[in-house]
Amino acid sequence: MSEKQTDSAWDLPAGLTSALRADARKRSEREEIFWSCQRARIRARIQIDAPQRHSLRIVFAGAVILFLAVLLTSPTGPPPQAVPPAAAVVDDDQQLLIAVERALASGTPQSLAPLSPFAQPDSNFNETQSIPHKEHRNED
């Protein structure tokens, strides 16, 4: 009983379903020429499609071959990793020393040469030394 009720819940009355079927068939009914034209169009589309698929297959195969060739010709193993340059230890004293040595080796530039009056021995040195005596004398 319950099985019948369940079945009927999934079904429409037989008369109605047969009428629906007949109506649907009538709606989709076409002349024979329609069906033969449709078959001809399907055939034509297959004939157009088949060469396209063939050429696509060739292009795909070419791409695969190219990829494999690139893969095989590339060097094997992991690529060498770039070694980062060691950070230079900067020693100020050492650099200064090097700079001085270079300066000495290349000769002293004119601009840095000591001025001649200061470089020459001071002839008036004794005179200047005597001034305090004079001053002392005046104080006396």
Binding site: W10, L12, P13, T17, A19, D23, A24, R27, E29, R43
Partner: protein, 191 residues
Amino acid sequence: MSLSLPALAAQPEDRSTAISSADFEELVCRHQRKVYRVLLLMLKSPDDADNLTQECFLRAYTTMRTFRGECSVQTWLLRIAVNLARDHVRNRRAGFWKRLLRLDDDIAPETKLDLPSPQPSAERGMLAREELDAVWRAVDGLSARQKEVFVLRFIEELELKEIAEVLQLSTGTVKTQLFRAVSRVREQVGR
């Protein structure tokens, strides 16, 4: 000549000559009306149904190698057709709804009434016509999935298992969808 699709699928690499022969012609000839009818009921557009029927057989041709014979050729073709219809509706939803509203205008008046009644009186015929129209309107109001189940069950007379195979659903889901579709149609038609 009897055509076995797995036999076709087992053809050598260059299938085009073999398929374009009478074998494929027979396959198309045998199933084109059914495929067209299902597509017409789903899409409500004769032009779209025609185009998608062609597309269906083209796709069948190109994917024939993947067909393993696990279901019947009819089930396989209807599955392709239903998938094409779904894609079509998805892609051109706006146009589809316009065509749906124009359905009654597209059908010639003389093709509307064809009830298998032995001696239909004019009144009886008119009532039946109205009832049929009400059912079709109710079917149009169903969801896409429910409509697919309804058409395959009541128009193409497929078993629930076959419907499940076509729509790639479980039988339980088909039953649920069918129950909902029938309930809704009954509700709208008043039967």
